[in-house]
């Protein structure tokens, strides 16, 4: 018989290295003599979209288009260290470093423009489309190229996240900054004859602080959900005496396109006071509520609580048999 059930799960997640560990990102911004804008940062792009949002952040600050930014990352001979693409920290930590570098560059451009235009101060200057101009009197303007024709303008900035080590005795402290929140709901169908579980629908609500790039966020949510689904239902490394027995895709199963349901994504924006434009990291949080929501839905469907993952068909059948036995006794 096929039985359906629904479940939800919520999670909160502290992003960054946390617990007092130094969490530092550095970024360098340059405008070369020919007016080209460069960002150098050691942050690694692994498909999550870091490159895209760093260009967006820079473009926003300097008043240019995203495609105007020459972005250099990963090459350690050219880029300042920005830590690992881990702990869901690149948007927040390196995003802040990029923002600081772009702001610093913007400030330098305005100072040069003040000299060039013989103004009393930098107040009221605006950057747009590679020009610096006085907002109240736009005729007072100078092109970026004019300001850098003598010397390349280079600035480097560092962002260090604020985290406090927890007290080992009391467990008190502020180990992470910031936290990210999410809640997923799923509907599953359990086949009581075969033990197979099919997740037929999922709704994912994710707090992101500020969505710098909603399309990329949706991609992260969908990928995280699929990983969480695999974690809850199929992925088992089969550790035996320190040896991984399931060391290939033939026996370590991950979800295919037929296993992952259509997902409804809800992006919740509540800007974080310390994030770049209020943004926070979501790389790992998006994975967390999937498995517990699925296990709750399984309980709703067949009345059995599982305390071990993955909930494979074999485990479901054994549990159903055990439950029937207990019922009879």
């Amino acid at each position: 018989m096929k039985k359906r059930g629904r479940g939800i799960a919520a999670a909160y997640y502290g992003t960054g290295y946390g617990n007092g560990f130094p969490d530092v990102s550095r970024a360098r911004a340059e405008i070369s003599k020919d007016g080209n804008i460069f960002i150098y940062i050691g942050a690694t792009e692994v498909g999550q979209g870091a490159k895209t949002i760093f260009c967006q952040i820079t473009a926003e600050i300097l008043g240019v288009e995203t495609q105007d930014i020459h972005f250099v990352c990963e090459d350690t001979s050219q880029t300042p260290d920005a830590g690992t693409a881990a702990a869901s920290r690149q948007t927040y930590n390196s995003g802040n470093a990029v923002k600081k570098a772009a702001e610093s560059l913007s400030q330098r451009l305005m100072e040069q423009a003040q000299n060039h235009l013989q103004l009393n101060s930098v107040h009221g200057l605006k950057l747009e489309n590679h020009w610096v101009y006085l907002e109240d009197f736009p005729k007072k303007r100078v092109h970026f190229k004019e300001l850098v024709k003598e010397d390349t303008l280079i600035v480097e900035e560092t962002f260090t996240a604020q985290t406090v080590k927890m007290d080992e005795e009391t467990g008190e402290g502020a180990p992470y900054w910031p936290y990210t929140f999410c809640c997923y709901g799923v509907e599953v169908e359990v086949d009581t004859e075969t033990g197979e579980i099919h997740v037929i629908h999922g709704v994912c609500a994710q707090d992101v602080g500020k969505a710098i790039n909603p399309e990329l966020i949706e991609g992260q949510i969908e990928g995280g959900f699929a990983m969480g689904l695999g974690y809850g239902l199929m992925e088992n490394i089969g550790l035996s005496k320190g040896e991984i027995k399931h060391n290939r895709f033939a026996n370590y199963l991950i979800p295919t396109a037929l296993d992952v349901p259509e997902l409804e994504k809800i992006i919740v924006e509540d800007p974080s006071s310390t994030g770049p434009f209020g943004a926070k990291g979501i790389g790992e949080p998006v994975m967390i509520p999937a498995a517990p929501a699925i296990l709750n839905a399984i309980y709703d469907a067949i009345g059995i609580r599982f305390y071990e993952i993955p909930v494979t068909p074999e485990r479901v059948l054994v549990a159903i048999k055990d439950a029937q036995k207990e019922g009879k006794e």
Partner: protein, 167 residues
């Protein structure tokens, strides 16, 4: 050595290959078409998918000599005259690419599917790419992209007929 002749991306090759050379190694190392990726090397992940005589195959499981006389399309042969194939365009427009390692295989599986069934439903699309594993995207946007590609292809055909009608 065995001498074989085959067509890859509309180009005919007459070559001598080692008997134990896999088709993926022929494609990547001899033809230098490195868009075809090797993931697991045992036919589970689909990263090395190519189209051989109209059907998708895992090029890691085919020996080069078995491709004798066949017509092969790799990811490099999908774009036409420098313009992206509608499937490639749709992948970009939807944001269906994250790390990108599965993407060439996904695009070719999608092409083989759309060549046979111009307007697949979402379940048929999921079936069509079920031999291609993706760890990043959760597949949702890939399914969206293939659905969009299907509409691009239909629109393209309409444009062609309407423009030829005008002539």
């Amino acid at each position: 050595m065995i001498s074989i002749s085959l067509t890859v991306n509309k180009q005919v090759y007459q070559v001598e290959v080692e008997e134990d050379l896999r088709l993926i190694d022929f494609i990547r190392d001899k033809l230098m078409l490195t868009g075809t990726k090797e993931g697991c090397g045992e036919g589970e992940c689909g990263a090395c998918t190519i189209i051989m005589d109209g059907k998708t195959v895992n090029s890691c499981l085919v020996m080069a000599f078995q491709a004798h006389g066949s017509r092969i399309t790799t990811i490099e042969g999908v774009a036409k005259d420098g313009a992206l194939h509608p499937i490639q365009q749709a992948f970009l427009d939807v944001g269906a690419v994250q790390c990108g390692f599965c993407t060439p295989g996904m695009v070719l599986s999608a092409k083989a599917l759309l060549d046979e069934n111009e307007v697949p439903n979402r379940h048929q699309i999921r079936e069509g790419i079920s031999g291609n594993l993706c760890r990043c995207t959760g597949y949702n946007k890939i399914v969206d992209a293939i659905e969009l590609a299907s509409s691009y292809i239909k629109e393209g055909q309409q444009d062609e007929t309407s423009s030829s009608g005008r002539q």
